[in-house]
């Protein structure tokens, strides 16, 4: 099972979990309708579209409302520590959650007590907590953008807000920042770095780059990083190696972007609808 953990910007949403179904521009989880504009719902929407294309069951969502005060995130962390040990999950994705090292460690400890250890993917706030905790190498995949890669590469920064300027300035030199992130023990076993050129890397260096098709507007759109993580998660769940999944996801996300003909003001639902066709093209090695 693919399970995805994150928050929704609705403080009134209690912890909900269950199968996530994509219905137009919204998700249905446990009888609740959730817009997919950005954040974890965007990741879930992409994972739903990719899973359906791959013939996989719909992903399982663990969601809670949190508008940034952290109360929802902490309640969900507690729920996970209580319930994960008895779950059967093959791929587990952590996303928009309040970065909190103590809760990160408790959740990771609960994961380690599961009968079969899932492959672990982290992005957004939970990736920040994983780096801060010093346990980045316990993860199979991180999906940072350029600013977040600089944060991973800066061994002193506790949050991207504190990344030192001489590192942040260097975002054109992605391979060096990747080396620096691995050198400091602050990267997952595989990295998918999202940018004008996407890089897939491991501790040995850059494995793949993807630079086409190129839709510049995607960089400005909220949620495009979330959709690539969602596609990668579905491909990992489908049995691909993490690096291969990341490579294909980067390509499929760009193809979906191209099919949507976006501008910098486009919405993520315009991309998600094209994921099935884009993923098929990426897997067949077709598309522009």
């Amino acid at each position: 099972m693919l399970a995805i953990v994150g928050t929704v910007p609705d403080p009134d949403l209690p912890i909900v979990e269950g199968e996530a179904l994509l219905e137009g521009a919204a998700l249905m989880v446990a009888g609740r309708r959730i817009p997919t504009d950005r954040g974890t719902p965007a990741l879930l929407a992409a994972a739903c579209a990719a899973s359906a294309t791959l013939g996989l069951p719909a992903p399982h969502a663990f969601l809670v409302g949190d508008q940034g005060l952290g109360h929802g995130s902490r309640a969900l962390y507690a729920h996970l520590t209580d319930t994960l040990p008895g779950r059967d999950i093959a791929t587990l994705v952590f996303h928009y959650l309040m970065p909190d090292v103590m809760w990160h460690d408790k959740v990771l400890f609960a994961v380690e007590t599961m009968a079969a250890r899932p492959r672990l993917i982290a992005d957004a706030g939970f990736m920040y907590a994983a780096k801060m905790s010093g346990q980045a190498s316990a993860y199979d995949l991180f999906t940072p953008d350029a600013g977040e890669l600089a944060f991973l590469a800066d061994e002193t920064a506790p949050h991207p807000f504190y990344t030192r300027g001489f590192i942040l300035h260097d975002d054109n030199n992605v391979p060096d920042l990747i080396r620096r992130a691995y050198g400091g023990g602050n990267a997952a076993r595989c990295l998918l770095v999202k940018g004008s050129v996407d890089h897939v890397a491991d501790a040995g260096g850059v494995l793949h780059t993807v630079d086409s098709p190129c839709e510049e507007a995607l960089e400005a759109m909220g949620g495009t990083g979330d959709t690539v993580a969602g596609i990668a998660a579905a491909l990992v769940e489908g049995g691909l190696s993490v690096a291969k999944a990341a490579h294909l996801a980067a390509r499929a996300n760009r193809l979906a972007g191209q099919l949507a003909c976006p501008n910098p003001g486009s919405r993520i639902a315009e991309i998600v609808v094209h994921i099935p066709q884009a993923l098929k093209q990426a897997m067949n090695g077709t598309g522009q």
């Binding site: 990771l108 506790p158 807000f161 504190y162």
Partner: protein
């Protein structure tokens, strides 16, 4: 040693990671005590600690706080009229907030990035068309409130956000306003 043992050692050791903690520095001890009281009453996990020597200001006490929630905490202290002299990460007392901006011109649209946060505006109308990046849970919430608003009418994320991502978005927002203001 298996990973579980490694993790067990890490989580049960005498010095748990303080990488997500910050220190609030004040002029004197009475301000430290007031600030601690204000923050505890608001439900934040805070503790009074000694500041590292390199940032000692004359006051031998500081308030340790959850770093990521800095924006919300500073707002509480401002409202209580006990603002700190400085707010610093525990693990990097000399680190300063990002002050480097990346600007990208798409023709009709302009994008500004500060740290991990990006805001994009339609130059023809001044309307915010997208917010992206970030990882803290207030980012999607802030994005929903900013998109579709004119830059000169939208609330600053520094006033409405709660986390360091919200703070970074506020910096990008203010830089965008500076770039778009008639000079």
């Amino acid at each position: 040693m298996g990973f579980l043992d490694f993790l067990r050692n890490k989580t049960s050791g005498p010095t748990p990671s303080r990488a997500d903690r910050g220190l609030l520095l004040f002029e004197n001890t009475s301000e430290v005590i007031r600030a601690e009281k204000v923050l505890r009453a608001a439900g934040f996990e805070v503790a009074v600690k000694g500041p590292p020597p390199e940032v000692r200001t004359g006051c031998d006490l500081a308030v340790e706080y959850p770093l990521i929630e800095g924006l919300n905490i500073l707002r509480h202290l401002d409202e209580a009229r006990v603002p700190p002299l400085d707010a610093i990460p525990v693990t990097g007392p000399l680190l300063t907030p990002v002050d480097l901006y990346h600007v990208k011109d798409f023709g009709d649209h302009l994008m500004v990035r500060a740290a991990n946060m990006k805001v994009t505006v339609d130059k023809r109308t001044g309307v915010i068309v997208n917010v992206s990046g970030g990882g803290c849970p207030d980012v999607p919430w802030l994005a929903a409130r900013l998109i579709g608003q004119r830059l000169d009418e939208a609330p600053s994320p520094r006033d409405t956000g709660h986390t360091l991502c919200g703070y970074a978005l506020g910096l990008a927002f203010e830089e965008m306003k500076r770039l778009c203001s008639p000079s």
